[in-house]
């Protein structure tokens, strides 16, 4: 863990901190997202694990509603561990896609787009994955009521 963090800290100064790392994963600017993933892939983190979007509604009058996208990669060797970092974007922003790097990102990002509503820029086929095509809204929004009716079926 420390080894790769040290490498990342020299490659991306100011983003990763090797001395006292953020246990939740470093916050990476959206424009360096793909570069970090590519660097990690070259350094042994070849297994794509998951991408998680979450919605942070605006708090108070000042705040901006944001999406946070966490990405997890893993090195498939002995002493394997999962490495994760996060990207925060405003709700109308886009996270660059990892599809060219990891084929598995295709479906994962579609799922997060479907459920959370994060848009992934450059995704070749950003459709809904889980819900029907004509669904309105993104269920994992914090302001989406869980009991939302969907006539005629419920």
């Amino acid at each position: 863990m420390n080894e790769i963090l040290a490498k990342l800290a020299t490659e991306f100064p100011g983003v990763f901190d090797a001395e006292n790392p953020d246990p939740s994963g470093a916050l990476v600017p959206a424009d360096q997202h793909v570069a970090v993933a590519a660097f990690l892939k070259e350094n042994g983190f070849t297994k794509y694990v998951t991408v998680v979007g979450s919605h942070y509604p605006a708090s108070g009058d000042e705040g901006v509603a944001e999406y946070e996208v966490g990405t997890v990669l893993r090195n498939p060797t002995r002493n394997s561990f999962a490495f994760m970092w996060r990207v925060r974007i405003p709700m109308d922003g886009e996270v660059p896609t990892l599809c060219p790097l990891f084929a598995g990102a295709d479906w994962q990002e579609r799922e997060q787009f479907d459920l959370v509503g994060v848009r992934f820029g450059g995704h070749p086929d950003l459709r809904r994955l889980m819900l029907p095509e004509d669904w309105e809204g993104h269920p994992l929004h914090k302001d989406y009521a869980i009991e939302t009716a969907h006539p005629p079926w419920r």
Partner: protein, 395 residues
Amino acid sequence: MEVRVPTRPNPHLDIDAYDADADLMALNMGPQHPSTHGVMRIKLFLDGEVIVKAVPYPGYLHRGVEKLCEKLTFVQIIPIVDKHDYVAPMTNEQAIAVAFERTLGIEVPRRARYLRTILAELTRIGSHLLWLGTFTLDIGGTIGGGASVMMYTFREREKILDCFENLTGSRFHYNTHTVGGNRHEIPDGWVDQVKAITALMKIRVPEYEELCTGNEIFNLRTQGVGVVDADLALELGLCGPNLRGSGVDHDLRRDQPFHAYDEIEVNVAVAQGGDCHARYQVRIAELYESIRIIESIIDKIPDGPLSSQRPVKSHLGVKIKTGCHYHSIETPRGELGTYIIGGGDNKSASPYRLKIRPPSLHSMSALPYLLVGHTVSDVVAILGSLDPIMGEVDR
């Protein structure tokens, strides 16, 4: 039979441009189809019987559990995740329990860790048995040799379910794991029951092998079909037997030990080739390995408490630390991870966001790459060999 050179097909093939004359036949498999292992729909574009493009549509079992989990506490979440991978519910509980324990820094007593290891391995046997049954069912037909193998594997799986029922009182959805330990004390005679199962399985598994690889048609149907190379497998995030079938020596039981796996030796089964037959070989080898692991520790279950936490009705008092946490264990299908974002502003005992990282969804996302160039008959073989569980894919 020579192995087809895996060239990576384009899953986003523009079918209108490819097929300007509209000669291709679009065939919908599913969502209700005998071989889609639940409710899965695959749209196949066929040139004759050869697949040009395959578009899977999951989501027919999307039950919105992640939304539900944001409103529940730990105690309430654990029985719910039982229903995801309904072939191996035990490891599902373990995954979420381990994730919470690691997030909260709760120590699990050694006795509970050993018990969990045994339960996980028994679940692996049961899950692989069911997989073997349904896989041969796909290849051999519901009225045919496959059905016979399925009946045999279900016969043995019943014994394992009896064993679980003896321990937890439930056949299917156990709710036996809690944060910090296990709920149910080992009953009298349970250890002997487990020993009887392993002794029986040591006789039965060679019989299954004889029924499968002893049959030339089985080999013909599986060898060289659905090849996924190691690079693609890793990129797609395949895990478990599907990844090891592609020749990647990676198993979380050994590489990132949980439960009691740091105290016992795990031999990881790896097969080369990446086709359906390799995945079959890995699973059969894992059956032997699980039997061996259970036999090696069944007599060594240490004494002591089963849980480090006081039994409480609700963990409402326990707050998850703020921040993101990702923890995963190896289930029969591979890496089952849980990504937890701790309760917003430390006010809630429920997670702010909880994402299950299901191994089956990644297996499913391999389908557009694997199916192209094969025939309709191979679809069921490939789908069966990937061992997807739709409850886990859709959640």
